[in-house]
């Protein structure tokens, strides 16, 4: 084993070590206790958290993808920059504010949180859909039209498969972001694991903090991993980008 490899190993062990030390420290201080002592609450919050993410993400996919596809049609090209700029502007508004502003429109509760998360997930999904379709070589579309493919066939056989890498990456980014933002749903009474994190902050209770924060983190990392696997399955072998970090 050469020196460079050794160094890389040392760094990963170091990081694993820090993580391990943290967990040992947290466990020895019984910071995870609430997960077991209040397991039914924990499961309820976890389920609520996942529902928030799932419902808002599905809604966002259902809107962002069709809109992204629509604005990349020839006859709608002009609408593209209007939609894109609106969505871009929307993204500079902090997620916390999006949630907060929804209260005055929809009141407090699960629906408000879902709606805010949905709005906030649109941008990465929409942007990557448009970027993915726009990046397809114009010549491919020309060839497809020239050989007599119908627009719908071009969309499903050429455009979407070749944009799938970008589209799925957008969905993954949005969903992972969403898991984190859903932890803020507490402030609009939307529930989720954020309830414990915020309780922890307000009561200076490390147990609530850790029992809320670590599951959310693991959920985000796990879902990210899962969606990456899915990408590898779905994206056609020939249209993967040559390199990726």
């Amino acid at each position: 084993m050469n020196k460079k490899k050794v160094m890389s190993r040392v760094v990963s062990f170091l990081v694993y070590g820090i993580v391990a030390v943290f967990f040992i420290w947290a466990i020895s201080n019984s910071y995870f206790n609430y997960i077991f002592s209040q397991s039914s609450t924990f499961l309820y919050l976890l389920k609520q958290h996942m529902q928030l993410v799932l419902v808002s993400s599905l809604l966002a996919v259902g809107v962002a993808l069709p809109v992204g596809i629509l604005v990349t049609r020839r006859s709608f090209r002009r609408a593209e920059w209007i939609v894109s700029n609106t969505v871009n502007l929307g993204q500079t508004i902090p997620s916390l504010a999006v949630l907060a502003l929804m209260i005055s429109i929809l009141g407090i509760g699960f629906k408000t949180a879902v709606f805010a998360l949905f709005i906030y997930s649109l941008l990465p999904m929409y942007r990557n859909t448009v970027a993915g379709i726009d990046s397809i070589d114009e010549n491919l579309i020309d060839a497809a039209r020239g050989m007599g493919m119908k627009p719908i066939q071009i969309l499903f056989r050429i455009e979407l498969p070749n944009a799938s890498y970008s589209i799925l990456a957008g969905i993954r980014t949005a969903v992972v972001l969403n898991i984190g933002t859903a932890a803020l749903a507490y402030v609009v009474g939307g529930g989720g694991l954020g309830v414990w994190i915020f309780t922890g902050i307000q009561l200076f209770d490390n147990g609530y903090l850790i029992s809320g924060a670590i599951p959310v983190t693991l959920l985000a990392i796990f879902v990210d991993y899962l969606l990456r696997l899915l990408e590898r399955k779905i994206v056609p072998k020939g249209s993967k980008p040559p390199q990726e970090t």
């Binding site: 500079t92 902090p94 916390l96 809320g212 959310v216």
Partner: protein, 217 residues
């Protein structure tokens, strides 16, 4: 409109103060992140194994939800009595900045035309000279793009830092929420959006201004 004028009359100085606080928090975090991230990114180009490991760690770091990271940091920093306030927020922002900065530096330096690198070697430049005169200037626009990503990201995350007592514009929003005051929420949001746009604009200007003409496409 009248109500807005009145609101601003009362609150403008405070908004400005909080904006400055926000800027200092994000600015310091970015500065430290640069001091760590750029050299690390450059170093990684000489060690592929380490590059893979570090980039992976940084990318996992970025998937950690910000409120959760704060939640974890409070107990950790409580050990040294800094559980709440500037320190955990600052550390979190530095961590979040690492991926965009390291990754872009690494990719940019690695993509510097090898012929150019050879030419520099051929001219007898030392490694440090080569880095400063050839590789960094050519990698500059991509590194700057990474910094811009990090800054905009941090300004947004900085809002949430208000919940752990780090101040900044998030205070307006959190107060607005707890008091049910939409003026506070909206003014806070707009201030954050403007701050993000100004910061991005300034960095973009620097990026354009100092990118060697020959490589600006």
């Amino acid at each position: 409109m009248d109500k807005w004028m009145k609101f601003l009359e009362v609150n403008a100085p405070r908004i400005l103060d909080l904006a400055i606080e926000h800027t200092i928090l994000v600015g310091l975090a970015i500065l430290v992140a640069l001091i760590i991230g750029v050299p690390l990114g450059i170093y990684l180009t000489t060690n592929d194994y380490l590059a893979e490991t570090v980039l992976q760690i940084a990318s996992v770091m970025l998937t950690i939800p910000s409120i959760a990271l704060f939640g974890v940091m409070i107990p950790v920093f409580s050990i040294v009595n800094q559980g709440i306030g500037f320190v955990p927020a600052f550390v979190a922002l530095v961590l979040y900045s690492q991926l965009p900065i390291i990754r872009n530096t690494y990719t940019a330096i690695r993509n510097v035309n090898p012929e150019m690198r050879d030419a520099a070697k051929g001219l007898g430049m030392k490694t440090s000279q080569r880095l400063l005169r050839v590789e960094i200037p050519n990698a500059f626009p991509i590194i700057m793009a990474g910094i811009r990503t990090a800054v905009v990201l941090n300004i947004g995350i900085g809002v949430i830092a208000a919940y752990i007592g780090a101040g900044g514009l998030g205070v307006l929003i959190t107060q607005g929420i707890s008091r049910g005051d939409n003026y506070l929420i909206i003014s806070g949001s707009i201030a954050v959006a403007i701050l993000a746009m100004i910061a991005d604009g300034i960095l973009l200007f620097i990026q354009k201004r100092y990118t060697p003409k020959s490589i600006a496409n």
